[in-house]
């Protein structure tokens, strides 16, 4: 069972990366030069990392569903056109990591 879930997560990552790549090439016509933060990508990254690392917070949803959705969102941002999504991914991971520490270590 755990291997099936593992495959599900990997597939979610692959599909999310492809979706992110295709959509970002439509959205951004130029290479990564201006170094702006995309608000939509930032929201997706934060949501994705929080869902993947802090699935127990969403008790009403089975953990494998929240992790699958989380990985899909992470991959969408991480898989964007080279350069794009870099800052958003780091921010999303930092927020989720702080939340994880608060949830497991401090509280």
């Amino acid at each position: 069972m755990s291997q099936t879930l593992y495959l599900l997560y990997v597939l979610s990552f692959v599909i999310g990366s492809i979706a992110g790549l295709v959509l970002s090439y439509k959205k951004y016509k130029a290479p990564f030069v201006t170094r702006n933060v995309d608000v939509l990508a930032l929201v997706l990254a934060v949501l994705g990392w929080v869902l993947a690392l802090n699935s127990p917070l969403f008790g009403m949803v089975p953990s494998y569903i929240s992790i699958t959705v989380g990985i899909f969102l992470i991959a969408m941002v991480l898989g964007m056109r080279p350069g794009y999504g870099r800052y958003e991914t780091i921010t999303g991971f930092a927020v989720a990591a702080v939340l994880w520490i608060l949830r497991t270590v401090i509280l």
Partner: protein, 286 residues
């Protein structure tokens, strides 16, 4: 029987996907070290899939049907490795036999194409076989230490005595160098060095190249899986993933910062590692 088939299929698909993503990750890390944006992480996977919709061309110089059969053979041997390893937890000896077959396939893929680049790669594959000494040495050292070649038994041994990486660090280092020689752009990747275009793969196009790339992804996953299983022990899927990502990142760092070695230097360096590893490990066991 159906359950076994499903298990094999699951593990093969997993090995292919994870192996492809790790190859993409390696290129991404290398690019970032070299201050480039680098390709997307799934680039290797996309390349592999792309070859399945490309036209397959066959060189006039190709030795048929060997030229085609060799790609199928490479796929079969690495699928067999998945069955022996993660599915059955069988003998380590079989995994290493499969690795030895991989060398023969590299050699024959190069020679069957008729391309001068392929032939050079073929010669280098024979040449680099001398550097496979660490492979057999690792096998013997593990047997001397654990008294078994069965992967399941080696895992049991480690659950009692602790990971082998602590008691056999030089053997682990030798195996690490062996995996490094299979990494793209590594200093020891002489059979696929860019000085000979794509080595033994140069004249394999379309579908055939797709199969070669699938096999390489599975091979990468399997080599990392064997390293983690034999030297650290049984891990959870997340543990394997973290271990594989960490090993790939280290190899990407080495590949990004070192040039491809001349074949003579590559072999000499690998045999030197082997000598130090074998002597050191035997002294540590005694």
């Amino acid at each position: 029987m159906n359950l076994l088939m499903a298990n094999i299929l699951l593990n093969v698909v997993l090995a292919f996907l994870v192996g492809s993503i790790l190859f993409g990750l390696e290129r991404k890390i290398m690019a970032r070290i070299q201050m480039r944006p680098g390709p997307p992480i799934i680039q290797y996977l996309l390349h592999t899939l792309k070859f399945f919709i490309k036209e397959s061309a066959f060189p006039k110089t190709a030795a048929m049907p060997f030229y085609i059969a060799i790609t199928a053979m490479l796929s079969f041997i690495w699928v067999a490795a998945v069955i022996v390893g993660p599915v059955m937890g069988g003998s380590l000896l079989l995994i290493f036999a499969i690795y030895a077959l991989h060398k023969i396939v590299e050699h024959n893929a190069g020679s069957s194409s008729g391309s001068p680049y392929g032939k050079l790669s073929c010669v280098r594959a024979v040449f680099s076989a001398a550097a496979e000494l660490p492979l057999f040495a690792v096998l013997i050292i593990i047997y001397l230490k654990t008294g078994t070649m069965n992967i399941g038994s080696i895992i049991s041994y480690q659950s009692i005595h602790g990971p082998l990486i602590y008691s056999l660090p030089l053997a682990a280092a030798m195996f690490f160098v062996l995996i490094l020689s299979k990494a793209h752009y590594s200093p020891f990747a002489i059979t696929k060095g860019k000085d000979i275009i794509s080595g033994y793969e140069t004249e394999h196009f379309g579908l055939l190249r797709g199969y070669l790339m699938i096999s390489e992804s599975i091979a990468w996953y399997m080599l990392l899986w064997v390293f983690l299983t034999v030297f650290i022990g049984a891990l959870s899927p997340v543990g394997y993933l973290i271990g594989m990502v960490a090993l790939t990142a280290v190899m990407a760092f080495i590949s990004a910062t070192t040039p491809l070695l001349n074949p003579n230097h590559s072999i000499m360096m690998q045999t030197t590692f082997a000598f130090v590893g074998i002597v050191g490990s035997i002294l540590m066991i005694m």
